[in-house]
């Protein structure tokens, strides 16, 4: 299926009329975003994929309830988040997996869901230190309370605006801001010793 230049509203109208191709175009448009949102909540690719696919299926049948005055994107992200949160609750109660773990799988593949943005001017030592910082950040995020982590990830890793987070999670903008401030404060506390150590090393090299 080819990607289309039609707007979301147009695709939604066609999909409501039973046009599966139009809905397929919506899937192609938002599949990566959906899986990344679910991934931010679940910390596991396989579960994120399943949750986001379920969210698409639910959205397909709920299209009749979708109100034209809201944006499809935020409406759909809300479904993805609810689905991912359901899966998270179930999996957490079963104790099946560790959230946001930077361990390696049995196949030697890193479980980490964060990756470094490559930099050409970086020395191997700097790259090693950056990787360490990334792992520390991942551990720090995993220690945040659920709601703070969700809001933080949606804002700073998924790149959603505060309004989009508010609409997707169904909470007030002020609450989103408060959660972000708390999350940042906690992360700063977790990371300050690591950052101080990294800064000390770089100062010594200079």
């Amino acid at each position: 299926m080819e990607r289309t230049a039609l707007s979301d509203e147009e695709l939604v109208t066609r999909a409501r009329g039973g046009n599966r191709d139009a809905f397929g175009a919506l899937v192609l448009r938002y599949e990566r975003h959906a899986i990344l949102i679910a991934e931010g909540i679940l910390g596991n690719w396989e579960l994120a994929k399943d949750a986001s696919q379920n969210a698409f299926a639910k959205a397909y049948f709920a299209l009749k309830k979708f109100r034209e005055d809201s944006k499809f994107k935020t409406w759909f992200f809300r479904i993805v988040m609810n689905e991912a949160k359901d899966v998270y609750r179930k999996e957490k109660s079963r104790g099946r997996f560790k959230m946001w773990s930077s361990e390696e799988t049995e196949e030697g593949e890193e479980k980490s869901i964060l990756e470094l943005i490559p930099s050409e001017t970086e020395s191997p030592r700097e790259l090693f230190e950056a990787r360490e910082l990334k792992n520390q950040l991942e551990r720090a995020i995993s220690q945040l309370p659920d709601r703070l982590r969700q809001v933080f990830v949606l804002r700073y890793l998924n790149g959603l605006s505060i309004r989009e987070i508010s609409e997707s999670l169904g909470i007030a903008i002020g609450t989103v801001k408060a959660h972000l401030a708390q999350g940042v404060h906690k992360l700063k506390e977790f990371l300050s010793p690591v950052v101080a150590e990294a800064q000390g090393k770089s100062n010594l090299r200079r």
Partner: protein, 159 residues
Amino acid sequence: MNQEELPPELEKILKRVKLKEPPERLMKDYLSGVNAKIDRRGQGFHVSFPQVALACVIGLSLVGVLYLTFMARPKAIELVSEPIQKVEAKPQVVAVESQVQATQKALSVEEEMAVLEAFSEEHGEGVAEFFGDEEMFEDLSQLDEVELATPPNAPASRV
């Protein structure tokens, strides 16, 4: 809060990281997976909360009906074909009372006197002590003897 308001050290780290893109092997069959889920939901019986609740209600109703039909039914009373024998259910106390009455009636005056004499011989001293006046007791005894002694011309109904 904007990204610019982040503490510099955190901002620096966040600028260097991003969420990993999902592996290609996961995305390859993504759309077909969504379509399969839509088809399954559309055609098949999807088990979710309403279905589970409905199943529970039906199950409980069936159990209730079965209970009322078989368990809560009163037991049938067996009809006895043999004639019922009459059982005298006279209270035992009545029988004892009638025995006492019969015994009392059976005693003649002489026998009663003998019983009283035996009683006074056996417990006379005790009774005197109980009353506290031995003389009066003796007088009473004499009076009794006088009264009980049947004069030759006394009518029979006196006894």
